[in-house]
C-alpha cells in the first residue's frame, strides 16, 4: 500500500508540473526534468546503445517536450506519452546517425562492447545484455519486451515488416538467453 500511495503522489505532482509547464513555467519544467530525465535517458541508452548519443537524444527529447507538451491531452498517463515521444526521438536520432556510409556498406551496427558498457555506470543484468545486442534486434526487443509495443506498431515505427519484427525479437531473445546462460 505504501508503494501505491507513493506512486499516486508522484503522479499527482507530475500532473501538476505538466500543467504548469504547459503554461510556460520553466521552473516547473526543470522539476519535470528532474523527475523524468532518468527514465528518458534509460530508454535512449537502451535503444541507441551509445552513452554520448543517449545523452544527446535525452536533451533532444526535453527540448521537443518543451515545445510539444501542449499536445499532451491527458488521455494516457504522462509517462506513457513521454516514453512514446522518447522512442520516436531516439529512432529518428538513430536514422540521422545513419549516413550514406552505413547505407552504402549496409552494415548493421553491432552492440556495445564490454568496456563501453562498464563505463555506463551501474546497470542491471538485463540492461548489460541488451546493450550488447545488434541494432535491429535490440530496438525490437526494447520496444516489445520492455516498452510493451505490439509488433505491428514496431513495424511501423521502424519501417520493417511485422514478420521481421517478430524474427528480430526471437533473435534478440535467443542471444540474451545464450549470454545469460553462459555468464
Amino acid at each position: 500500500m505504501l508503494v501505491d500511495a507513493r506512486d499516486a503522489f508522484a503522479d499527482d505532482t507530475l500532473d501538476e508540473l505538466v500543467l504548469r509547464t504547459k503554461q510556460g513555467d520553466q521552473v516547473a519544467f526543470a522539476a519535470l526534468y528532474e523527475q523524468c530525465h532518468q527514465r528518458v535517458y534509460a530508454l535512449c541508452l537502451r535503444l541507441l546503445a551509445d552513452q554520448a548519443h543517449a545523452e544527446d537524444a535525452c536533451q533532444e527529447v526535453f527540448v521537443q517536450l518543451w515545445h510539444k507538451v501542449s499536445q499532451f491531452n491527458g488521455q494516457s498517463k504522462f509517462t506513457t506519452w513521454l516514453h512514446s515521444v522518447t522512442s520516436n526521438v531516439a529512432i529518428s536520432y538513430l536514422r540521422k546517425q545513419k549516413n550514406w556510409l552505413t547505407k552504402v556498406v549496409s552494415f548493421e551496427n553491432s552492440g556495445m562492447d564490454e568496456a563501453s558498457i562498464s563505463l555506463c555506470g551501474d546497470l542491471n543484468g538485463l540492461d548489460k545484455l541488451i546493450l550488447k545486442l545488434p541494432e535491429r534486434a535490440r530496438l525490437v526487443f526494447v520496444l516489445h519486451a520492455v516498452e510493451g509495443y505490439r509488433h505491428e506498431e514496431i513495424a511501423t515505427m521502424l519501417g520493417m515488416a511485422v514478420g521481421s519484427s517478430k524474427s528480430q525479437y526471437h533473435r534478440a531473445k535467443k542471444l540474451l538467453q545464450e549470454w545469460y546462460e553462459n555468464d
Binding site: 532518468q38 545523452e55 536533451q59
Partner: protein, 168 residues
C-alpha cells in the same frame, strides 16, 4: 543457490526496468544545455533568431545539395560496373562528403582549437586500416571499422562547428 531460469530473470528485470533505482543515469549534466536551447528559441532573442534563420537556410541548402550529391552518387554506383573495390567506393564517397563539409564550415570558427589534431589522428587510423585492407579487401569487420573511422571524422567536423546543446 541455483541461478534463476532465463524466463524468470527476464520477467524480473523487465519489471524492474521502470524503477529509478534500476535505471542507468547520464554521466553528464544535461539540464543546462536544454535550458539554453529552449531559451535561445525564445522571442527575446529575436535578433539571434533571425541570424539563426539565415544560418538554418544555408544549412538546409547545403543539406539539400549534399543529399542530391549522395543520391546522384548512389545512381552512379548502381549503374556503374563494379570495377572499384568497396574500399575505393567508400573512400571516394567519404572524401567528397568531407570536402563538402570543410568548404561549408570554412569561414566558421570551430569550438575547439585542437580539432585538426583529432582529425589527423582519425586520418592516421584510416590509413592504418586501409593498409591492412590491402591484403584482405573483403574483410567485413575491417570495412566496418573503416566506415566508423570515416563517420567519426565527419561527426568531428560537424560537432566542432555545430554546437550541440550541452556545448552551448
Amino acid at each position: 543457490m541455483t541461478k534463476p531460469s532465463f524466463d524468470e530473470f527476464l520477467a524480473k528485470n523487465v519489471e524492474q526496468s521502470d524503477r529509478p533505482e534500476h535505471m542507468p543515469q547520464p554521466q553528464k549534466e544535461l539540464w543546462s544545455g536544454i535550458e539554453r536551447a529552449i531559451n535561445a528559441e525564445s522571442p527575446t532573442n529575436a535578433s539571434q533568431s533571425s541570424q539563426q534563420n539565415r544560418v538554418d537556410v544555408w544549412r538546409q541548402a547545403t543539406a539539400i545539395a549534399a543529399s542530391t550529391l549522395v543520391g546522384m552518387c548512389a545512381v552512379y554506383f548502381s549503374m556503374k560496373p563494379a570495377t572499384q573495390s568497396p574500399v575505393m567506393q567508400m573512400s571516394n564517397y567519404f572524401e567528397q562528403q568531407k570536402q563538402t563539409l570543410l568548404v561549408q564550415y570554412g569561414s566558421q570558427p570551430a569550438l575547439t582549437h585542437d580539432w585538426q589534431v583529432q582529425l589527423q589522428e582519425l586520418e592516421q587510423a584510416e590509413q592504418a586500416i586501409k593498409t591492412v585492407l590491402e591484403n584482405d579487401p573483403e574483410n567485413a569487420a575491417l570495412l566496418q571499422m573503416l566506415a566508423q573511422v570515416y563517420q567519426q571524422q565527419l561527426d568531428l567536423i560537424n560537432r566542432v562547428h555545430q554546437p550541440r546543446w550541452q556545448q552551448i
